[in-house]
Subunit: 204 residues, 3 copies
Amino acid sequence: MTSQLFSHDVQHTLDIAGIFVFALSGGLLAVRKNLDIFGIAMLAEATGLGGGVLRDLIIGAVPPAAFTDIGYFITPLAAAVVVFFLHPEVERINWTVQSLDALGLGLFAVTGTAKAHDYGLGAVASVALGVATAVGGGVIRDVLANEVPSLLRWDREIYAVPALAAAILVAVLIAAHALGPVTGTGAALVAFALRMLALRYGWR
Amino acid sequence: MTSQLFSHDVQHTLDIAGIFVFALSGGLLAVRKNLDIFGIAMLAEATGLGGGVLRDLIIGAVPPAAFTDIGYFITPLAAAVVVFFLHPEVERINWTVQSLDALGLGLFAVTGTAKAHDYGLGAVASVALGVATAVGGGVIRDVLANEVPSLLRWDREIYAVPALAAAILVAVLIAAHALGPVTGTGAALVAFALRMLALRYGWR
Amino acid sequence: MTSQLFSHDVQHTLDIAGIFVFALSGGLLAVRKNLDIFGIAMLAEATGLGGGVLRDLIIGAVPPAAFTDIGYFITPLAAAVVVFFLHPEVERINWTVQSLDALGLGLFAVTGTAKAHDYGLGAVASVALGVATAVGGGVIRDVLANEVPSLLRWDREIYAVPALAAAILVAVLIAAHALGPVTGTGAALVAFALRMLALRYGWR
């Protein structure tokens, strides 16, 4: 069972952390688009939970985890409150947010790929779904805000490639029966490091 | 069984009424965007049925009711024909459309929350899904028309809050084993009244 | 079993061909929007596979075929490479692309309607799903590229009507127990011919 990749408690904590930072990015975009607190909350929910809901619909894990665990639902609301009261400060710590977002990207790529495998998908499909989980929330965020998804744009640093690297690593680890807490975390850190290097050196 | 909230015939009639008024709003936006009769019909379908299809996908009720009941499919087409031939008149009776839309909002919030509960979702998840059912069609309408969803915008009267109020009321009624035709209709009317007051007094 | 409409090998080949030409149209739009190779690949994937994934989610065929057959996943990538290296040439052979797209439209309308029927949907629902399969990828393409779907616009030649004609024909053939490889291909060719005539004579 690759679902044993992380203990349930560890995985849940990592999931919540990833949802929180993605929701922050949704809330900040809502502020830039002059949306009010409600718009901030809705965009935070859609960004934080979108990728996971998409993944669960595709693998047939309904109702999605986002709807059966109250923590998943409340986390983006907490992020929205943070953005609403602290958004000048949050923007100032942009580097922190970018770092957390990079970590969330890696974690979602790893857990998305592993969950897809658990549901019987093949290696390539699991990788595709891992990437979709990691980047899906951001695409939904940009579509709702009426912007071309930054994922697609050439003038933004690479975003999906780090997720793809982590997802492929996980698929290889599964095939080698070597996926565990340490190697899984390692794969997430590879994505994290690639993304941070891309931001630092402007890889596009 | 909360699905017995309304008798099947009553619920079906209310559903069709809600779909019809939401489809009118989709058709009218299509007219404003200079779309032709076909574009009007497509946007009416997407707006009228979008929220319910989203709800059914998430709770795993596939194929969605919109695809198994021919009345659901034909209703938006009827709304599209009405818009096509009568849109100056329909715009003039804007107040009527707004009222019907507010009624649809309340009804969808109530039936969406109850259906989610029937499929085993918890209280918070049922409320979230009730709101998603009520506002989902409008979000899909605005995304397809390439506009920022009015749901998210600060310069529009509150829309999701009335739906949220009705959905929470339904969850409380379910917990108290007090959900029935009268109390359910009451919850829908609360949403209706809140929305009408918001429009009247410009609550934003 | 209408799934025997075409032998598995024939249907698979036709599916891949349809995905390829739809993916080409996604890739070309990405070029026009100044997206890079990664954006081209993502938009090609979304356009080529979007209609079929939507259909499979709605009928409950999860995980969707696009995620269980590696050929489905790789085909849009091949189209993206073609667009990236050859896009001036591909644009020049616009007529060829339009023809292939028209063929894909017909094939997807036919196979989408037949698959929906296999999953127990009624005639009208099957027709609706056939049309959604045929046009869904293009709508997703345009939404991601931040444009009003050309499907909805009055200033484009008719697109959904040919798909609708083919889907209705398939539903009639199913009802008459007359759906087979020859009649099914005939229905696809009807859509193809209608679309080509619309382009030739500017039907809108």
